[in-house]
C-alpha cells in the first residue's frame, strides 16, 4: 500500500486487456489444438491473474517485498500439494 495514485487510464487499459483475453480464451476453446487447448486456456488465465495482481491489487507499484514473498509462498505450497499428490496418482497403476 502506498499513497501512489494510479491513473485511471491504466485501469481501463488493463480492463480492456482482460476483456479481450476472456473473449479470446472462450473462442480458442472451440478450435482444436490438441493438448494445447488446456495449455492455452491456463496460460491465458494465469496471465489474467497476473494482471489483476500486479495492477488492480497494486503489487507492481505500491507494495513491498514482503507482499511478494507472501504470494510466492502461497503458490509454492499450493504447488507442493498438487505435485506431490500427483506423484502418487500418476504412478499408481503403472504396469
Amino acid at each position: 500500500m502506498s499513497e501512489h495514485v494510479m491513473s485511471s487510464k491504466m485501469y481501463y487499459g488493463i480492463w480492456i486487456t482482460l476483456m479481450v483475453l476472456t473473449v479470446v480464451t472462450a473462442a480458442v476453446s472451440f478450435i482444436d489444438l490438441g493438448p494445447f487447448n488446456t495449455i492455452v486456456a491456463l496460460s491465458i488465465a494465469t496471465f489474467k491473474a497476473i494482471l489483476v495482481v500486479l495492477f488492480f491489487m497494486h503489487v507492481k507499484y505500491a507494495s513491498e517485498k514482503l507482499t511478494k514473498l507472501v504470494i510466492a509462498s502461497a503458490l509454492f505450497f499450493l504447488v507442493l500439494l498438487l505435485s506431490l499428490s500427483m506423484i502418487d496418482y500418476l504412478t499408481r497403476y503403472l504396469a
Binding site: 514482503l66 500439494l81 499428490s85 506423484i87 503403472l94
Partner: protein
C-alpha cells in the same frame, strides 16, 4: 521501569478492570491468553478423562467396561479433543499469546480484536464438539477416513467436522496474528537475529497454521457435503478415490504435528538458556531449524499411507523426504545438549520438565524413524507402536514443554510463585507415570497389537496392565499442578519482576505486567540471552 519493590497496588492487567464483561470483551492479549488457558485446561481434562476410560477398558482382554461403539467414540473424541482443542492451541494461544508481544516489546498483538475473535471461534468450535459429544459422539477415529465417515458411520460426523472446521479458523487467525505481529510490531533495535527462539518457533508454527489449516478446512467441508448433500468426491462407488481424502487430510495433519511440537521447542530453548545461564548454543541454527521443520514438514505427509494403497514410487519419495525432517530436529537436540556445557545449571521445576522434554522427544523422534522406514512401517503401522511414538512426542514432548512453560512464566502471569517442592514432585510423578504408560506400548506394537481395538488377545494383557497402571500415576501427576497452581493464586509467594533472573524483554516489565506491557517502548541493544549481563538471583526456589 519498576524493578525492586512491587506493591500489590500497582496497576496491572489483572486488577485494572473487574467483572465478567471486562474479560469477555477484552482485547488485551494477556487476558485473552488466560481465557484460553482456562478453556484449554477444561478440554485437556475432558480428553484425559476419556484416556483414562480407554485405559481402564484395556485392563482386560475382553471388552467388558464399555460397549464397542462407546469405546470407538472414546478414542475418536479423545484424539479430536486432545489434538484440535488442546494441543494445537495449547502453547501458542496461551503462552504465545501472552508472551510474544512482550518479548518483542509491543503493547499488544497487531490485531487485538481478531485475537478475541479467535478465542470466540475456539469456544464456538469447542461448544459444537461438546454438543456432538453429549448428543452421542463420533466414531470415525480422529482421522475421519472415508468412506467410513461419509457413508457408513451413523454418528455425529457433521457436527464434529464443523466443530473442527470452526476451531481451524481460530487457529488460522492466531497464526496470522503472530506473523503480522512479528513483522510489524518489533521494538526498535530488535532485529531478527535478536529475537528469542520462542518467537522464532512461533513464527514457524504460524506459517504452518496459515498454509496447512485451510486444506483440512475444505476437506472437512467436502466430507460434510458428501454426507449431507451426497456430493461424491471421495465415493468409491462413483469411481472416487478414498485415498484422496487421506492425502488432503495428512497434507494438513502431518504439518499439524509440528504445530504441536515447535512451540514446545521454543519454550525449551528459553528455559534451558535461563537455567544454565547461557546463550543457546548455535542460536542461528536452532532458529533456522524451526523454519526448516515447518517447511519440510509439508512434504512428508504420505508416510501415513505406506500401506494404504499408494504407489510404490510415491512411498519411496515420501519415505526419503521424511528422513529430511529428522535433520533439523537432530540439530535442535544436539544444540540443546551443547548448551548445558559449561553452564551454571540449576534445577527448578521448569528445567526438570525441559530436560524431560529433550529425553522423551528424542525417544519419540527416534521411533518416528522406525515408522518412516518403509519395510518396517508395514508391520508396525496401525499398531500400538504408532500410539507409543506419538504419545512420546505429544505427551512426553509437547505437554511437558507446555508444563515447563507454564511453570516458568507462572510468576510473570500471576505475580506469584507456585510451591517449588510440589512442582518438582509433580514433574517426577509425570515422568515416571508417563514412561510406565507408554513404554510398554512400543513392545505391544511390535508384537502386533492393532490400535483402536476394544478387545484383544490375552497374550497382550500384562503389558496393557502396566500401561493402565501408568496412566493413573500420570493422572495424579497432572492433577497436582492443577491444585497447586490454583492454590498459589491466593497463597503463592509474591515475586518481583524477574524471579528467575532471566533474559528477555518480558522479564523487564513488572509481574503481572501492566495493560500495555511497558511503560515506555523499550529499545533493544543486546543479543538474545545476554545472561552474562544479568545477575543470578538468590531465591529460595533456585536452591538445590
Amino acid at each position: 521501569m519498576a524493578t525492586a519493590a512491587v506493591s500489590a497496588e500497582r496497576e496491572n492487567y489483572l486488577n485494572k478492570e473487574y467483572g465478567i464483561r471486562s474479560w469477555l470483551l477484552t482485547t488485551d492479549h494477556k487476558r485473552i491468553a488466560l481465557l484460553y488457558l482456562v478453556s484449554i485446561t477444561f478440554f485437556f481434562f475432558i480428553g484425559g478423562f476419556m484416556a483414562l476410560l480407554i485405559r481402564l477398558e484395556l485392563l482386560t482382554p475382553a471388552g467388558d467396561l464399555v460397549l464397542a461403539d462407546t469405546y470407538n467414540k472414546l478414542f475418536t473424541m479423545h484424539g479430536q479433543i486432545m489434538v484440535f482443542f488442546f494441543l494445537i492451541p495449547s502453547i501458542p494461544a496461551t503462552l504465545g499469546n501472552f508472551l510474544i508481544p512482550m518479548m518483542i516489546g509491543a503493547k499488544d498483538l497487531a490485531l487485538p480484536r481478531i485475537n478475541l475473535l479467535s478465542w470466540y471461534l475456539y469456544i464456538a468450535g469447542g461448544a459444537l464438539m461438546l454438543y456432538a459429544m453429549v448428543e452421542g459422539g463420533v466414531d470415525t477415529g480422529w482421522t475421519f477416513y472415508t468412506p467410513l465417515s461419509t457413508a457408513f458411520s451413523n454418528t455425529h460426523v457433521v457436527e464434529a467436522g464443523l466443530a473442527i472446521f470452526i476451531a481451524g479458523f481460530s487457529s488460522i487467525l492466531t497464526g496470522l496474528n503472530f506473523v503480522v505481529t512479528v513483522h510489524r510490531m518489533r521494538a526498535p533495535g530488535l532485529t531478527w537475529s535478536r529475537l528469542p527462539l520462542f518467537v522464532w518457533a512461533h513464527y514457524a508454527t504460524s506459517v504452518i497454521q496459515l498454509l496447512g489449516t485451510p486444506v483440512i478446512a475444505i476437506t472437512l467441508v467436502l466430507v460434510v457435503l458428501e454426507r449431507t448433500l451426497h456430493l461424491g468426491i471421495f465415493d468409491p462407488n462413483l469411481g472416487g478415490d478414498p485415498l484422496l481424502f487421506q492425502h488432503l487430510f495428512w497434507f494438513y495433519s502431518h504439518p499439524a504435528v509440528y504445530i504441536m511440537i515447535l512451540p514446545a521447542m521454543g519454550v525449551v530453548s528459553e528455559v534451558l538458556a535461563c537455567f544454565s545461564r547461557k546463550r543457546i548454543f548455535g542460536y542461528g541454527a536452532v532458529a533456522l531449524s524451526s523454519i526448516g521443520i515447518a517447511v519440510i514438514g509439508f512434504i512428508v505427509w504420505a508416510h501415513h499411507m505406506f500401506v494404504a494403497g499408494i504407489s510404490l514410487y510415491s512411498a519411496l519419495v515420501f519415505s526419503i523426504l521424511t528422513y529430511l525432517v529428522g535433520v533439523p530436529s537432530a540439530i535442535k537436540v544436539f544444540n540443546w545438549t551443547a548448551t548445558l556445557y559449561k553452564g551454571s545449571i540449576s534445577f527448578a521445576t521448569p528445567m526438570l520438565y525441559a530436560l524431560g522434554f529433550i529425553g522423551l522427544f528424542t525417544i519419540g523422534g527416534l521411533t518416528g524413524l522406525f515408522l518412516a522406514s518403509l519395510g518396517l512401517d508395514v508391520h508396525v503401522t496401525d499398531t500400538y507402536f504408532v500410539i507409543a511414538h506419538f504419545h512420546y512426542i505429544m505427551v512426553g514432548g509437547a505437554v511437558m514443554g507446555y508444563m515447563a512453560g507454564l511453570h516458568f512464566w507462572w510468576p510473570k502471569i500471576t505475580g506469584r510463585m507456585y510451591p517449588e517442592w510440589w512442582g518438582r514432585l509433580a514433574a517426577l510423578i509425570v515422568f515416571i507415570g508417563f514412561n510406565l504408560t507408554f513404554f510398554p506400548q512400543f513392545i505391544l506394537g511390535y508384537m502386533g497389537m492393532p490400535r483402536r481395538y476394544w478387545q484383544y488377545p490375552p497374550e497382550f494383557q500384562i503389558l496393557n496392565v502396566m500401561s493402565t497402571a501408568g496412566s493413573t500415576i500420570l493422572a495424579v501427576g497432572y492433577l497436582l499442578p492443577m491444585v497447586y497452581f490454583m492454590w498459589s493464586l491466593r497463597y503463592g509467594k509474591v515475586v518481583g519482576d524477574n524471579p528467575w533472573g532471566a533474559a528477555g524483554l518480558e522479564w523487564k516489565t513488572s509481574s503481572p505486567p501492566p495493560t500495555f506491557n511497558f511503560d515506555e517502548t523499550p529499545e533493544v541493544t543486546w543479543e538474545a540471552y545476554n545472561y552474562d549481563q544479568i545477575p543470578v538471583p538468590k531465591e529460595a526456589w533456585l536452591e538445590q
